[in-house]
């Protein structure tokens, strides 16, 4: 059915309504305006009134413009031809390559049957001790990078992308500054990673609706490649922009807001995206790493808060390094038993001592006399920050563990570390 409707009843925000029959919820439609042809999808039906959200925004849409329903939902092309390409939030090419319309697949498809998932067990090595040693990234994991504006999160993301051992990278950019987009493109091109990268980029100047489509496009493509047996890493930045776009649309749709104006289904909306991360039983895997900026460095803001409940841990990026507190990779337990037998205990002991160091710093700043113990902690904290936390440290996991023992031995007696004596005997540096 390709009937054309030429009377638009209302235009509110990015949503237009037309009177039509036989239309299905979620169907795609073509809207032809004076400035060209764009797409819209059906979001609500009420008797013969059909509400559609227009991807490119409703600016310049006239009540006399034509709407043609395509009788299928939003789709994206998927094939090896996507490698190295850049698309926008409607799936149109952003580079100079040809538009792709073969092998179309539905976006935002059904969720994976939990009984077809397997327990993730492969570590993704990054060479960053704060990740490898303290919060190991695991294949099929979904992890956000919580950050504030101004932190080098895109740089960190790019670095992880280049060093991670995966077959394919799908980058979804939402509300990116144009120079950030250029940064990603240039960095990945320079490192040669572009040949196995697909980008879906929405920049800050593009229409809002397209922003909300980027994760669906990126994840649909990523999922299909994972089904083909590829190990895919999907990078999303910045999910807060995505949520803000969702908020904007919910408000214009007169939905009752739940918390700071965000729609009540924010959790479900985010969850159905993040839950695409998967390790398929008998096929590949999909890992999601997503930047979420925290407005005002407030982790209780609805976006990071809901995200934290969905993801399997989080990295906090603050003052240019990954914070040891709060940062957590829940799946690390799946892999760090098989690395080295001191890995878990050492990691816990070092964090506990670093927490004690933070207390001491606080005491010191209040002008208290430092005891012997405090002095030891101060020395430890300094060595820990320089040897482990600094983002420029790039060493394999085993070396990081040895470095950990060496730092402990420089600062403490054996029984002050809280580690089991048996481990201490084995790994404590002999010369110390």
């Amino acid at each position: 059915m390709q009937k054309v409707y030429t009377k638009i009843e209302s235009i509110v925000g990015n949503v237009i309504t037309v009177r039509a029959s036989g239309v299905r919820n979620g169907d795609l439609a073509q809207v032809s305006t004076a400035s060209g042809t764009g797409y819209a999808n059906v979001i609500k039906l009420d008797h013969d009134l059909v509400s559609l959200q227009v991807f490119s925004g409703t600016q310049g849409v006239s009540t006399g413009d034509s709407v043609r329903f395509l009788s299928h939902p939003m789709m994206v092309s998927y094939s090896e031809a996507l490698f190295g390409r850049v698309f926008d939030g409607s799936g149109r090419p952003r580079d100079n390559g040809p538009a792709l319309d073969e092998n179309m697949i539905e976006i935002a498809g059904p969720s994976v049957n939990p009984s077809k998932r397997i327990i993730p067990r492969r570590m993704v090595r990054t060479g960053i001790p704060m990740i490898d040693m303290f919060n190991t990234l695991v294949e099929s994991q979904k992890l956000p990078i919580f950050s504030v504006s101004g932190e080098p999160y895109n740089q960190l993301l790019a670095r992880i992308a280049m060093q991670a051992e995966v077959d394919l990278i799908v980058l979804g950019g939402m509300g990116l500054k144009y120079d950030d987009y250029l940064y990603f493109r240039d960095t990945l091109e320079k490192s040669g990673a572009m040949s196995h990268t697909i980008m879906f980029i929405h920049t800050a100047s593009d229409p809002t609706v397209e922003c909300t489509l980027v994760p669906d496009l990126a994840l649909a493509v990523a999922e299909r490649f994972a089904l083909d047996g590829k190990r895919v890493l999907c990078l999303l930045t910045d999910m807060t922009n995505y949520c803000d776009a969702q908020k904007e649309m919910a408000i214009t749709m007169d939905q009752v807001p739940s918390n700071r104006g965000y729609p009540g289904d924010l959790y479900s909306t985010l969850a159905s995206r993040y839950e695409k991360a998967v390790d398929f039983d008998g096929a590949g895997s999909l890992t999601i790493l997503a930047v979420t900026t925290m407005p005002g460095d407030d982790v209780t803001h609805p976006v990071p808060d809901n995200t934290g409940y969905i993801t399997e841990g989080q990295f906090y990026l603050r003052n240019g390094h990954i914070e040891p507190f709060g940062s957590l990779s829940r799946l690390k337990q799946q892999v760090n038993a098989g690395t080295r037998d001191d890995h878990r205990s050492l990691m816990d002991a070092m964090i506990k001592l670093y927490a004690a160091y933070k207390d001491t710093v606080e005491k010191k700043s209040m002008g208290f006399v430092m005891t012997d113990w405090d002095e030891k902690l101060l020395k430890y904290g300094d060595l820990f920050e320089r040897g482990m936390m600094d983002l420029s440290v790039n060493i394999p996991l085993e070396e990081a563990l040895d470095r950990g023992w060496s730092i402990l031995s420089k600062c403490f007696e054996k029984n002050e570390t809280g580690l089991k004596s048996e481990l201490v005997e084995r790994y404590w540096p002999k010369e110390a």
């Binding site: 239309v23 039906l45 994976v112 327990i119 993730p120 959790y267 399997e312």
Partner: protein
Amino acid sequence: MEKNKGHVVAVNGNMVDVQFEGSITKNEVAYIHTGPSRLKSEVIRIKNDTASMQVYEMTGGVAVGDEVEFTGSLLSVELGPGLLSQVYDGLQNPLDDLARQCGYFLQRGVYLNAIPDRDWDFTPLAKAGDVLTAGDTLGTVPEGAFTHQIMVPFDLEGEWKVDSIVPAGVYNVRSEIAVLVNSKGVRKSLSMVFQWPVKKAIRCYAERLMPSEPMVTKIRIIDTFLPVAKGGTYCTPGPFGAGKTVLQHLTSRNADVDIVIIAACGERAGEVVEVLKEFPELIDPRTGRSLMERTIIICNTSSMPVAAREASVYTAATLAEYYRSMGLDVLLLADSTSRWAQAMREMSGRLEEIPGEEAFPAYLESRIAEFYERAGRVRLKDGRTASVTIGGTVSPAGGNFEEPVTQATLKVVGAFHGLSRERSDARKYPAIDPLDSWSKYRGILDGEKVAKAYGILEHGNEVSQMMKVVGEEGTSLEDYIIYQKGELLDSVYLQQNSFDPVDYAVPPQRQEESFGILYDILTSEFDLADKSEARSFFSQVRQAFLDWNGIAADDDRYGDYRDSLVSIYKAKVRS
């Protein structure tokens, strides 16, 4: 009964308005025919000739005019042998069978039989001529380690006479095993399977009892300080990453109950997978069989449709009550009740109801209370006692307990295990805040001693707060020792390493022994010259204690480690 029909007139998210003919029931199940699939939905509001229905599936592709078929029955689950070790979605769809039929993805509109189609070795207990009422036993079948009672369906009212019952033998689960007849001459043919509406509590017991027997979890901080009773309720609120789910997994593995039902409600699929893959490998020390054989998983993860999430906790509660009716102790773990509350909020928003606090509906509190009240220890009609214990996690926005779901939950539960961000950040697991949390139940150890130890913990905490202000040098040695004692209690007893093969589960006897020694240390006076000696003494004691904690009770060195710990602290005890 003539089935009612209707057609779709509006679609908004997962809510669909349907115009119907004839009469329909609120909360009745209906199917929307969209293309080749039938989408299950439930009537939640009726206005004139329009019914608003929540759809348990994604509504993409639904069009105005699509045909709707009403079933006349409320949302129900199937009860019968074969439920154990199954993995269901929120509507009791078996996920393994679904995977075999549909592959990797959850295809919508596919509903399979919940009870596996197989034969059971049936032994009749009732005989022709017996007069029975709902919940009475017709016979038994062996289900794994349990004797599964085949009962008179709970919805049969009044007295029924057994007209005929099959002799002992092997029968298919759905074949007829008995015929009952009542005084009006109504005949009922029964198989081993019957249906029960999920939102209605099963009340086939003689009376409810006080939950007085502790449910051992093998987690020290819970069993000793914050106990849970069989038939009781408890909640575990905590910010994300504080270890709610890990704690629930540990409980589901170690709790001394017969059956564990895990309702993964709107949480991560990965966590369910861990249970799915690990439990079949683990041995239940109580039965010597795989842990999976005592477990049912209701899994409606966050990416699955929201409305089914709302139903999933009721499905879980119904299965729990069913097994309780057989005289078993059941533990229901719901993770997370906040997601369930959010599902209610989403529906309420679509219905355009007047929102309450944080846009949650006004009936939030009564729904939460209703759910937790389905727990309870009961005496059955034959005199046996049985229980359903409910433990729910809460995921408060921003980790702030002053939000509607946490507050409504705290009003109705018997124990509160509040997880703190501070403790989890410092890797102090389980991150239950010992000072904020409370329990109204009796624990496994001497209450007086526990209270005294708790007092030292509180006192130690006060000293530590004070020390932040006046510094270590401004603290008296006496106070400093109290502080060290509190820290010791925390690090060797309250904290427990869930990844240590020994320490992850501490049976009651060992808790008693361990607490006995700890109590002796806490209440002893020590000869310590100054704070630095005190600190090194206590780190020595802590080290010895932790080393002992890591030694299995059947290890030859167990006694030596204990004795060495004792001699370390005894050496300094003031005579």
